[in-house]
Subunit: 236 residues, 2 copies
């Protein structure tokens, strides 16, 4: 490890909570029961649209609720300290409005719960949100019951294993160059990764953490666990 220049992306731990971390809870969360709320870092819980129901299921108390509530009920007035009602027809999703709010209020470490799976236009939009703010805040990720997703700019990044079996990378853009892995089951050295391949999937961090570096492009880093067979069977 090369020291001060590294970006530690994965300090998802309450102990480093110093008042600048927000949890944004979206209304579609896959694998809800597999989220370990004890490992979430947050000072403030912001719920987008029906995300307040998800927050309740997770035992979290919403601080701010924001949404158009056009296809879901809004929280009871007594519940949130702050309720922001948006118009139904607008140029952004409730999720984007929630994230813009978090950034505007100065939160620098942001975990977005949910937003993967289900409607794929939403999934792609949520990757767009990661892309909008990666590099502008200290840390931002999307997380659900089986996945934790970061987007990285060129440089060297430490990724902690944190109980995720798989680590996959994908080029978010035409290509990533100079891609090098340290501490991974399938190492890479100065490779090119295009967005026309499955090549980056199903790798594994060997120890506690891995080092991933690259020179150009933007890299989507997905830490994943298999969906339990019983869950898949039940959904069929």
């Amino acid at each position: 490890m090369t020291g001060g220049g590294l970006k530690y992306m994965n300090h998802l731990n309450r102990t480093i909570n110093n008042g600048s971390s927000a949890l944004i809870v979206l209304s579609h969360v896959e694998g809800l029961r597999f989220i370990d709320t004890g490992r979430l870092e947050y000072d403030t819980v912001i719920c987008a649209d029906a995300g307040w129901k998800i927050a309740q299921k997770l035992g979290l108390t919403p601080d701010i609720c924001i949404g158009d509530y056009d296809s879901s009920e809004q929280p009871a007035e007594s519940l949130p300290e702050d309720l922001i009602r948006l118009p139904a027809e607008k140029d952004m999703t409730d999720s984007e409005a929630a994230l813009d709010l978090a950034v505007a209020r100065g939160f620098r470490r942001i975990t977005i719960i949910g937003g993967l799976g289900g409607r794929f236009d939403h999934t792609m939009g949520n990757l767009g949100l990661l892309a909008k703010y990666t590099g502008k805040v200290e840390r931002i990720c999307l997380q659900d019951g089986w996945n934790r997703i970061f987007l990285a700019d060129p440089g060297t990044h430490i990724v902690r294993k944190d109980g995720y079996y798989y680590l996959g990378t994908a080029s978010y853009g035409e290509q990533v160059t100079g891609l090098t892995y340290r501490g991974m089951k399938y190492p890479l050295e100065n490779a090119v990764l295009t967005n026309r391949t499955t090549y980056g999937g199903s790798n594994e961090i060997l120890g506690e953490e891995a080092e991933i570096s690259f020179r150009t492009g933007r890299l989507l880093i997905s830490q994943c666990n298999d969906v339990p067979a019983a869950i898949v069977e039940a959904a069929d």
Copy 2:
């Protein structure tokens, strides 16, 4: 509509079946019970890894099974006409091997069932597969119970509604330029769509079909339905 130069992407209808369409069934399929098999176009069913179990649930008979079967049982020998066993450690996924096989055998219209949701490294890899073969075959899409996903190259494309409520677009690459919608609820004219926004989501085709054209970049077109509330509740 401007006639002969248009690419009809969405003839997912058995009536145009002329012997060159393959259905590739993956092992993770969201919303299985919402797939209308009567609307699927295929001459040959190719199952990747545990996809043969999914095919059986859909009432489809696998013609070829291909996979490493490292984390799932392989089909009984009597089941497939053709069983291709791959090594567990390889530079491609079973899904990619199945698709490569379909293309090598000359199939020109390919529907991939599944591959969205669950492990996100797989999802991104499957988008990579669309990207690998879009433009090289006549038609390729990913489809599950709530989504049908195409990738489009520059030009003019007709997209049929086919029972999908939402249509979302996202730039697959840094940006798409000259993006114009005809027949959509929220029209666009000569717009730029970057991959750092949620802007393309939650649009709707107003009639039977819409026309989407653009000048540069690659556009991911997602046709989606909401996941039924009962399904979401049950999964929590």
